[in-house]
């Protein structure tokens, strides 16, 4: 119980300071919108074609926007040596990690919720035909993205070239998660409820989330305490 309170205290702290400054949030959101715009030049944006590649398009946008957000996650603790103070506090490293991941997850979901209608309007796609399933996929895949991203944010926090390092390490790791999300989202935007292959993709997504959450929780103390 105390553990979850600590997780929430950390998450609330991150959310409060991010919502107050909106530094990462603004950058990430406008970046997402810019990429959404750029995609219209990459192909002929007719409704049918867009629907066919909607999953890939949306998740590339989310993954790029996410990297900006996640870069700041541990880096924001470097100012004034706050990370040291947090690590010396009685909060376990795993609670610190989960709190930060939770905050990032909520922020990224917020960005996604803004991007989806924009995508729908600009590309003339009715994306909300399977709202419940789509919400589930968004929740699961965004968690996978955040858990890996937050872990690498911790891993690279003290490095030179942090901003360059994170995307280079994170994207290859995220391929299975993104691929599942793309497959599922494309089908859902086309209005098909998950069946057959899609269920298997969903299962893989859940497996990915569980395994990497467990691994990160187990390893984060090693990363933070030298």
């Amino acid at each position: 119980m105390r553990y979850f309170r600590q997780v929430w205290t950390i998450a609330a702290k991150d959310l409060r300071s991010e919502l107050r400054t909106k530094e990462a949030l603004n950058a990430s959101l406008s970046f997402a919108l810019v990429i959404l715009l750029l995609f219209s030049f990459a192909f002929d944006p007719t409704a049918e074609l867009t629907r066919e590649i909607s999953g890939g398009l949306l998740w590339l946008v989310f993954a790029f926007a996410g990297a900006l957000l996640l870069n700041r996650s541990f880096a924001r603790e470097l100012e004034n040596d706050c990370l040291d103070v947090l690590v010396t506090s009685p909060v376990p490293a795993s609670a610190l990690f989960l709190g930060k991941a939770l905050a990032n997850w909520l922020l990224l979901l917020g960005i996604e919720i803004v991007c989806l209608p924009v995508f729908g309007v600009f590309y003339n796609v009715d994306w909300a035909r399977q709202p419940a399933w789509l919400a589930l996929v968004l929740l699961l895949a965004t968690w996978g993205l955040t858990v890996i991203g937050t872990m690498f944010s911790a891993l690279t926090v003290n490095l030179r070239l942090r901003e360059l390092m994170l995307p280079m390490l994170v994207y290859p790791m995220l391929i299975p998660c993104l691929m599942a999300a793309m497959q599922l989202t494309t089908a859902l935007v086309a209005g098909q409820a998950p069946a057959g292959d899609q269920v298997a993709w969903l299962r893989m997504l859940v497996g990915f989330d569980i395994i990497f959450t467990a691994l990160s929780v187990a390893l984060v103390e090693t990363v933070l305490i030298g």
Partner: protein
């Protein structure tokens, strides 16, 4: 003593390789459909085996480093990862040559090619991370964590890409079950010299790494007041 073992390893690898090449080129007949180029399989496939064996050893070494804190494990991890990457590159390049001749294209987004490329990039990231960290113990610790994460994601990568790509028709590489016994024997037989070569390279790299640590320590010693 250790030097001599290394020389012996090198000589054994060279002799075995020469013998295998002789058998391959002189005794084994051309494959019925693909002709002479099929022989590239004797390097292509064992290189992939060696690559993944090296990554596995890197995983074990990384876990051992985190458990014991001994720098030798870190040296082993980085050496095996580098050698694994070299064999991975050999696998990719030999595959591309083969593809150019049989399929007429250098690259296709077949699941095997794509997965191998992703793995190669994952482990290349390991080396890039190492370059960005100055202090040896911190470098060892963080890269060990990365090695564990990377190894865990490899099965996911293979699984998901295979699934994704097999929805399209793909060229048939080779039927493992239909392979002739003599071919199969050579496939595994040629793995032996490649493994010996890998061990030799790892041993040399480890020695370099140990020297580098000693140098780093001396430099730090010289800089303290």
């Amino acid at each position: 003593m250790r030097e001599k073992i290394l020389y012996a390893l090198g000589v054994a690898a060279a002799l075995l390789l020469a013998r295998n090449l002789y058998v391959m080129l002189v005794h084994l007949p051309d494959e019925a459909f693909q002709g002479a180029i099929f022989r590239i399989i004797f390097f292509h496939v064992p290189a992939a085996f060696t690559c993944f064996l090296a990554f596995f050893v890197a995983l074990v070494a990384s876990i051992s480093y985190l458990k014991t804190g001994r720098m030798q494990w870190d040296s082993l991890a980085v050496s095996t990862t580098e050698v694994g990457l070299a064999f991975g590159a050999a696998n990719l390049i030999s595959g591309m040559i083969w593809a150019r001749i049989i399929w007429g294209i250098w690259w296709t987004w077949d699941w095997r090619l794509t997965s191998m490329l992703v793995c190669w990039l994952l482990y290349a990231g390991y080396l890039v991370l190492r370059r960005a960290i100055e202090e040896p113990a911190q470098r060892a610790r963080l890269s060990a964590v990365l090695s564990i994460l990377s190894f865990t994601v490899v099965p996911f990568v293979f699984f998901s890409i295979k699934w994704f790509r097999t929805q399209h028709p793909q060229p048939v590489l080779y039927g493992e079950g239909k392979m002739d016994a003599a071919y199969r024997a050579m496939l595994y037989g040629n793995w032996v010299p490649l493994i010996l070569l890998a061990i030799l390279l790892v041993a040399v790299r480890m020695k370099q790494e140990t020297r580098r640590l000693e140098l780093d320590a001396l430099r730090r010693e010289a800089h303290t007041i």
